[in-house]
Subunit: 211 residues, 2 copies
Amino acid sequence: MTEQLMVKQERAARTRDTLIRSAAEVFDRDGISGASLTAISSRAGVSNGALHFHFASKAALVDVVEEEALTRLLAVTNGALSLGTSRVQLLVDVTHALAEKLRGDVVLRVGFALSGETSRPRRMDLRERWRRWVEETLKQAESAGELRRGAGVQDVVTAVVAATVGFEVLGVRDPAWLSASTVARLWRLLLPTLVPAAHLAGIEAGGPRRP
Amino acid sequence: MTEQLMVKQERAARTRDTLIRSAAEVFDRDGISGASLTAISSRAGVSNGALHFHFASKAALVDVVEEEALTRLLAVTNGALSLGTSRVQLLVDVTHALAEKLRGDVVLRVGFALSGETSRPRRMDLRERWRRWVEETLKQAESAGELRRGAGVQDVVTAVVAATVGFEVLGVRDPAWLSASTVARLWRLLLPTLVPAAHLAGIEAGGPRRP
């Protein structure tokens, strides 16, 4: 590959990334149906022609934003696999990481909001993907003997998924709902019902320590 | 007032109600920016002229749907004042009533969804009104000595408001999130941390008994 071609491809990839972020910003501000392609291309600082070179339509851009958001969600849930940690601590840490990402990452935020659009394909539904990950992680915690006897796993899945989706939605208007202290508050409340009293001191409701 | 005038006024009031419900249905389906006045009037079975007689613009219709939704939220929170009941039981019962209403009442649902629009006036924000009612009710429960010593009222407000808003949002795609069994699951989980063990048997997590 010639150097010139590589430069060209790199530039195209950068333009594509910029267009995806700009699209998410415009969707976030104007809603999907209110968003115009002209607003997106001008926000990205490219011509309408350049936008159309990368994306055939607004629908194609929505699909790509949703795919990119799903990739980022998977990076959050898979990124914290740190062996040796308890599954309950993993769940606490990942809810903190997700809230932090939702505060700062407009692509992820729009991807979650698209879950509410009944016309979107179910396989991409980020809130449903999140629900499945929470359920899976709590079942692993149960198998590993981390949970209090009588802790209803499905009750906890319901509460954690509903509350985190609530944080996501309320955070649009007031980012305090996505703060570390709000997430810690939820866990301080739930942990005593979830893990045996003897293990409680070993779980950090405030999430991962910053280096 | 002549009988003829009364008939005319009644008919106008009925048309107005039909237009509000039709507007909510179209907003629910197409989003605010995607909704057209023609779709609303044709759904209501009236002419564009009749719509404009009642509402000057789409913005006016959005305002009226939001006001009507707020009235309905207040009917839910104020409707269950039944003296003598514990405040905690009142809170449980009202979350059940709200979930049931959100399942069936498109005006209330759209009103809640408008809370996520940062451009809407804050004083109408239904999710914020709901948060304030939950906080107020839990403070009353605390004053009445109904809460367990050490129960963090703000932790419970955070969890209950976030989870119910989560139910509202997740229920758009899957109404099971607004079912009585889902709401009961949340309360089964929270009640043991909220009320003293001795009082637990007196609280019905499943909400009000149907006659």
